[in-house]
C-alpha cells in the first residue's frame, strides 16, 4: 500500500537518532539560509536597494535598505489603494464575479460535453465511437489559447466560408473563453467519464439488463449516476484547472479578475503589488477547492472500502493504478494548464 498516505511517520526513514538529528539540524539551517537569501534578494530587489547591498554588504545590518524605499515596490503609495473598500467592491469583485461566471458556466457545459462524448466513445456503433474519439483527442491536443483566438475569429471564418455578413453574430470575450474552456475541459472530462463508466462493476449492468432494462436505461439509471459520484473529486479538481485557465481571458480583454488587477496596476502604477495580491486570491480559492476535492476523495475512498469487499477494485478511475489516485487528488488525468 502507500508509503505516505497517512500522517504517521514515513517509512522512507527512521526516527532520527542523535547523530541523524544533528545532521538534520545542519540541513535545516542550510535550507533556511538559502530560503532567507532568496527572499531577501526578492525583497531588496523589489525595494530597489539590492544595488546598495551589492556595493556595500554591510548595509544589510542597517535598517535603511530594509525600509520600504519610495521608488520601490513596497512603498505605501503602491499598497494604499488596496485599503480602499471601493476598489474591492468596484473593481476586484466584479472581476471575480466574471471569473466565477466563466468558470461556472464552463464546468457545467464541460460536464455535459464530457458526458455526451464519454458515453459516445462507449457506443455500440463503431462510427459514433470513432467520431467522439476524434473530437475528444483533437480538443485535448490543442492549446486553450488557440481555441480562444479561433472562437474570437469565428465571425471572420463564417464570413469567409459562408458569406455570413459581419455583425450577424457577436462573439464576446466571455463567449470565447467559455467555448475554449468547455471544449478543452469537456474533452478531459469525457475521458474521465469513460473510465468512470467502465469502472462500474459489470455485474451491475448485467443485473439491470436481466431486469429487462434497455441500453439507454442502463446507461442513464445505473452507470452514469454511479460514475458521476465517483468522479466528483476529479470534477472539482478540474474546476481548479478551469479557474486558473479563465485567467487567459485577460489576453482577450475579458473583464475577469486578472484583468481587474491589470487595470488597477494601470491606474495606480502598481503592477507588481497588484499581481501579488491577485496571485494570493487565486491561491486561496484554488487551495480551498483542492481541499474539497481531497475531502470528496477520502469520502469516496471510505465508501469504496465498504463496497470493496463485495466488488472488484472500485476507487476513482481515470488514472491507472488505484494507489496512484489516492494521493494525486488535485491532479486530474491531464495536468492543469493556464
Amino acid at each position: 500500500m502507500s508509503v505516505l498516505k497517512t500522517k504517521e511517520p514515513s517509512r522512507l526513514f527512521d526516527a532520527p537518532g542523535p547523530k541523524a538529528a544533528a545532521r538534520q539540524r545542519v540541513y535545516s539551517v542550510f535550507a533556511a539560509l538559502a530560503a532567507a537569501v532568496l527572499l531577501a534578494w526578492v525583497y531588496l530587489g523589489f525595494n530597489r536597494t539590492w544595488e546598495v547591498v551589492r556595493a556595500d554588504p554591510g548595509a544589510l545590518l542597517g535598517g535603511d535598505v530594509w525600509r520600504p524605499a519610495e521608488d520601490g515596490q513596497w512603498t505605501a503609495d503602491k499598497w494604499e489603494p488596496f485599503l480602499d473598500p471601493t476598489l474591492w467592491t468596484g473593481m476586484v469583485l466584479p472581476g471575480m464575479v466574471q471569473t466565477l461566471t466563466a468558470a461556472g458556466i464552463s464546468i457545467v457545459l464541460a460536464i455535459v460535453f464530457g458526458l455526451v462524448f464519454g458515453i459516445g466513445r462507449l457506443s455500440d456503433h463503431a462510427w459514433i465511437r470513432w467520431v467522439c474519439g476524434t473530437v475528444v483527442e483533437f480538443f485535448r491536443g490543442i492549446p486553450l489559447l488557440m481555441l480562444i483566438f479561433f472562437t474570437l475569429a469565428a465571425p471572420l471564418a463564417a464570413n469567409q466560408l459562408f458569406g455570413v455578413p459581419f455583425g450577424t453574430f457577436l462573439v464576446t470575450p466571455l463567449t470565447a473563453v467559455v467555448v475554449g474552456l468547455t471544449l478543452y475541459n469537456g474533452s478531459v472530462l469525457a475521458e474521465v467519464f469513460r473510465a468512470g463508466i467502465n469502472s462500474v462493476p459489470k455485474g451491475q449492468s448485467e443485473a439491470a439488463y436481466s431486469l429487462g432494462m434497455g441500453k439507454t436505461q442502463v446507461m442513464g439509471l445505473i452507470l452514469v449516476p454511479q460514475a458521476i459520484s465517483s468522479m466528483m473529486p476529479a470534477i472539482v479538481a478540474q474546476l481548479v484547472v478551469l479557474l486558473k485557465d479563465s485567467a487567459l481571458g485577460y489576453i482577450v480583454a475579458f473583464p475577469e479578475m486578472l484583468r481587474s488587477f491589470s487595470l488597477i496596476g494601470t491606474r495606480f502604477q502598481n503592477v507588481i503589488p497588484a499581481a501579488i495580491i491577485c496571485a494570493l486570491i487565486y491561491i486561496v480559492i484554488n487551495v480551498s477547492l483542492s481541499r474539497l476535492a481531497i475531502w470528496l476523495e477520502r469520502r469516496n475512498a471510505r465508501r469504496g472500502k465498504v463496497s470493496a469487499k463485495a466488488t472488484v477494485a472500485p476507487g476513482v478511475p481515470g488514472v491507472a493504478p488505484t494507489d496512484v489516485v489516492a494521493d494525486t487528488t488535485a491532479t486530474p488525468e491531464d495536468p492543469p494548464k493556464g
Partner: protein, 224 residues
C-alpha cells in the same frame, strides 16, 4: 490554405520556438520536479515544508501570472537577465516560468509514484543499511519513475500546450499561437484552414508524445 503556405516560414519559426520552449523546459522541470519530490519525502521537516509550500503556491497560481512574475518581477524589477538579445532573454525567462510551474506537476506525479512502492522494499533496503539518499536513488525513484511514465507523458503534453502562454504575459515569445493570432488580426488569411494548420502542428507534436509515453509505460510497468 495558400495564404497559410505563403506564410509557411512564419509558421515554422513559430513552431521552432514552441519546440525549443518545450524541450528545455521539460528537462528543467523534470530535474526540479525530482528535487522537489525528494524534498517532500525527506526526513528533514523544514525541507518537506518548503517544498510543499512551493508546490501548493505555484500549482494554484494561473500560469499567466507565473509568467507575468518572470517578465515584470524577475526581469524588470529585479533586473534578472539571461541574454543580451531580447529574443533570447524572453525565451529563457519563459523557460524559467514554465519549468517552475511544470515542476509542481512532475513532483505531484512522482510523489504518487513513490506511494506505489511497497513498504517491504524500502524497509528491506533500510535494513541493509542504505541511507535516505541511497534509498531514493537506488530503490525508490527508479520504480516511482517507471510507474508514473503515463502521467509524466500527460504533463509533457500539457507543457507543450502551455508554451502558448509565453507569447503573452509580459514576455512576447514569438511562438506558434502568437503567429496564428497575428495572421487572424491582419484579416488576410482564411481563418479555418489556418486554425486547422496550426492545430495539426500541435497534434503532430502532442500525439506521438502520447503514444511513446503510453507504450513506454506499458513496457516499463512494474509487475506487482
Amino acid at each position: 490554405m495558400e495564404a497559410f503556405l505563403a506564410n509557411f516560414n512564419v509558421v515554422i519559426d513559430g513552431f521552432s520556438w514552441t519546440i525549443r520552449l518545450t524541450a528545455i523546459s521539460a528537462v528543467f522541470s523534470f530535474a526540479l520536479g525530482i528535487v522537489l519530490t525528494a524534498m517532500r519525502v525527506s526526513p528533514v521537516p523544514l525541507l518537506r515544508l518548503m517544498a510543499s509550500v512551493y508546490v501548493e503556491a505555484v500549482r494554484n497560481t494561473p500560469l499567466t501570472l507565473v509568467l507575468l512574475f518572470c517578465g515584470l518581477g524577475l526581469n524588470s524589477a529585479l533586473g534578472l537577465s539571461f541574454a543580451e538579445s531580447v529574443e533570447w532573454n524572453v525565451y529563457w525567462l519563459a523557460v524559467l516560468g514554465l519549468s517552475a510551474y511544470t515542476a509542481c506537476f512532475v513532483s505531484e506525479a512522482l510523489r504518487s509514484g513513490v506511494n506505489t512502492i511497497p513498504f517491504g522494499q524500502i524497509e528491506a533496503a533500510r535494513s541493509l543499511g542504505l541511507t535516505f539518499m541511497q534509498n531514493m536513488r537506488l530503490i525508490v525513484l527508479p520504480q516511482a519513475l517507471r510507474s508514473v511514465i503515463g502521467p509524466l507523458g500527460s504533463v509533457l503534453i500539457a507543457l507543450t500546450k502551455n508554451t502558448t502562454v509565453a507569447s503573452v504575459a509580459g514576455l512576447g515569445v514569438q511562438e506558434a499561437s502568437r503567429e496564428m493570432k497575428l495572421m487572424f488580426d491582419q484579416g488576410v488569411v482564411p481563418v479555418l484552414p489556418t486554425f486547422i494548420g496550426f492545430a495539426i502542428g500541435f497534434l503532430v507534436l502532442c500525439l506521438p508524445m502520447g503514444w511513446i509515453f503510453g507504450t513506454l509505460s506499458k513496457r516499463m510497468a512494474v509487475a506487482r
